[in-house]
Amino acid sequence: MKKITLQLLYSFIIRWFLRVFVGVKFDKADFLLKEKQFIIVANHNSHLDTLTIMASLPRKIVHKVRPVAAADHFGKTKWKEMLSNFFINAVLIQRKRDKENPENDPINRMVKALDEGYSLILFPEGTRGEPEVQQPLKPGISYVLIQRPHIKYVPAYMKGMGKAMPKDDNLIVPFTSSLTYGRPRQAASLDTSDILQQIERDLNRLKDSTIQ
């Protein structure tokens, strides 16, 4: 039931809405079918970001990919948590690490989802910032990649989303925007800051390739 709902919602309704109404140009994402598991790492400016990535995925794997979202925002109330679970298929995490309760620890939660066979969508900037301005990346992604080194990450860069629907505004105004994927890559080292730098370079390279 959830699988069909997600496929119908993202591969048809939301994809159509984003493409025709908002004006999103989607990059091809068929290459993701070749990867067994992956973590999509993207820049974050808008609530549309998650929807755009979900809508760009091949229909067959939409239900196997879970966006990672902040519990304080998307799990504020029981009702909101249920909606986030069902319609966004989100992995809710808290923003701070929790060494005393391993079950609540954000890193453990992400690793657990990976172990269950899901792929993840992660916004390492942590929160939505100013349109087209990149914030420093948070180290969480590195911890996950260190714990599960066989999993590849896929850089994704979105342009214009923060103009179609910025952080402090709930009104969507159509704006020609785009989503571009990079090649899937493995972390080249086991050092937190090295991995972060590698991801940041990949994102910047994608950003440069979209500005023409």
Binding site: G23, K163, P166, L171, V173, P174, F175, T176, S177
Partner: protein
Amino acid sequence: MIEKLLRLDFIHNDDILFVILLIFGILIFASTLFFIVGWIKPQAKLGELKARTNSWWVMASLFIGATIVNHTLAYIAIGMLSFVAFRELYSVLDFRASDRRAIFWAFVAIPIQYYLAYIGWYGAYIIFIPVGMFLFLPMRLVLKGNTDGIIQSMSTLQWVLMLTVFGISHMAYLLSLPEISGFSSGGRGLLLFLVFLTEINDVMQFTWGKLFGKHKIIPKVSPNKTWEGFIGGVISTTTFGYFLGFLTPLSTYEVLFVSFAIAVSGFVGDIVMSSVKRDIGVKDMGTSIPGHGGILDRIDSLSYTAPVFFHLVYYMAY
């Protein structure tokens, strides 16, 4: 039921049917030509020309399908054209974050403008954007309170709206013109005449320019525009217009004049959009049509020819 949905009576209208066959004939000729040339000379670089022709196939089919077959669909299709063009243009023109509310209302104006065209309320249709939105949008900008750069936002927003919505919507209003006795093609004929001539003009100016172009008209804006291309295009387009005059209710001299006006204004629309692109520093407005760039790269001439043609015909025949 079917007769209500589809206006298939164009099959009995020899004039319109003839032009449709002509359009597809030209397309078949172009595709065959490129196929044969590509077969004989595989080293010839036909990629872009082929992509352009294929896009023409899609655009011509969509256009003919929407305008000739179903009347109501045509208003929606042209309205969508305005919507995409408006979005494409304003997205590349650095608006401020505080302009979003006003831009939203400019989007709302699109269905209203096309609805006014649909019901054929000429008085409201013709002032809604030039007067109504002209007064309303600055007010919405002012209410937001950010005065830094507000003059630029006020003027640019109105200009984008005029060019992509008001101008293009004249195509739709052609379909709402009242019937003239003894003139069977009606608004559909006029629309077909306008679009066909505008596009032929683009192609002719390009071809003449490629073949004989030497003396540049405005090298700073568009280095490919030459006097030879321009004059050759104007003459060819006027000739085409003369032979397609049966699609309009105009006299021979009027048809010649209107065709000439389409040729010249099409050229102007083209270079106006070129200068905008030059200012922003892009080659094409987008990538929505293979080989053609964005929607705007395709309808830049139409945004000028549509109002010019409409008002000339409206003055001469209605």
